[in-house]
């Protein structure tokens, strides 16, 4: 009955001159139950093709977001680093200024102390002058 046509199609199939619809016909023919014994050898081939078409990609795509996170993480790290360097410098400068201020203050105090010592001596000299004036006035 139909097997004549199928045999013809198989011949064409092996020469790769069947059309897609004809190949579909072969596939449906061999996936049904009753296949004549002399054609049975072809069955696994077409059955396999039909089964193989059903295979699915089931793995979830999970790495995508992770990779983006890494990128953003590196950007954030860079930002933090730059801020750190910038503000670190600022802080360092502040500290230096404070130190310089303290040193100057110390030096100025020292100067002031010595000055006051000087003025004391000068005040003493003044006393001497007063006494001298008194003596002059008496004479």
């Amino acid at each position: 009955m139909e097997s004549d046509r199928i045999e013809k199609l198989l011949g064409k199939y092996l020469e790769a001159s069947t059309s897609i619809t004809e190949e579909k016909e072969l596939r449906t023919y061999f996936t049904q139950e009753s296949v004549p014994t002399h054609l049975e050898q072809y069955a696994p081939m077409f059955q396999y093709f039909s089964v193989a078409k059903e295979e699915r990609y089931t793995k979830q795509l999970s790495l995508k977001t992770k990779r983006f996170n890494y990128r953003w993480l590196s950007i954030a790290a860079m930002a933090v680093l730059f801020f750190g360097i910038y503000f670190g410098n600022e802080y360092q400068k502040k500290k230096e200024a404070q130190y310089a201020y303290n040193e100057t203050k110390k030096a100025l105090t020292l100067l002031a102390d010595n000055f006051s010592k000087g003025t004391e001596k000068v005040a003493y000299l003044n006393e001497f002058e007063n006494a001298k004036q008194k003596i002059y006035n008496k004479n």
């Binding site: 092996l14 190949e23 078409k53 295979e55 699915r56 990609y57 793995k59």
Partner: protein
């Protein structure tokens, strides 16, 4: 992505191992994703993706050739003891898979694209950069090889 299964099946056909194929598919999908903005410029995204998959897998194979590729299949001779018809059929289908693994890469791809994914010759030609006559020859050879080897296995199994 409606054609990701096709990408996966092509990758699996070429790389054989399930894990490798999954990795490859993921890689390709990611590459596609990163090209998201200008994807409209390609008039056929599916063909583009398939070509990418093909190239990626072939590169993989090339880089692995120095390694341990050849140990995958050599020990499937002892599966002739199955008694039930169903098991037998399933075995034969496994054979077809194994036989396809042994085909040269080009024939493998042509057979995959034609008999499983039902692409027409123009599409296959575009994907594999082959002329229609060359495709026809490769396809015919692949089909004949599969049939021949299947018959060998079959007669061993029965007789």
């Amino acid at each position: 992505m409606p054609f990701k299964d096709k990408l996966y099946r092509l990758a699996k056909r070429l790389l054989v191992s399930k894990e490798e194929a999954e990795d490859a598919t993921q890689e390709i999908l990611m590459k596609l994703w990163s090209k998201n903005e200008n994807i409209g410029n390609y008039n056929n995204v599916e063909a583009f993706a398939m070509t990418m998959t093909k190239n990626f897998c072939l590169d993989r194979l090339k880089s692995k050739q120095a390694g341990n590729l050849k140990l995958v299949h050599s020990n499937y001779g002892d599966d002739s003891t199955s008694l039930q018809k169903q098991v037998e059929v399933r075995d034969s289908m496994g054979w077809v898979e194994k036989i396809m693994e042994e085909l040269p890469e080009q024939q493998k791809m042509v057979l995959q694209l034609r008999d499983i994914e039902e692409y027409d010759f123009d599409e296959i030609g575009e994907l594999l950069d082959m002329k229609p006559t060359a495709i026809r020859v490769a396809l015919s050879r692949a089909r004949k090889t599969v049939r021949k080897k299947l018959m060998q296995k079959h007669s061993y199994g029965i007789g």
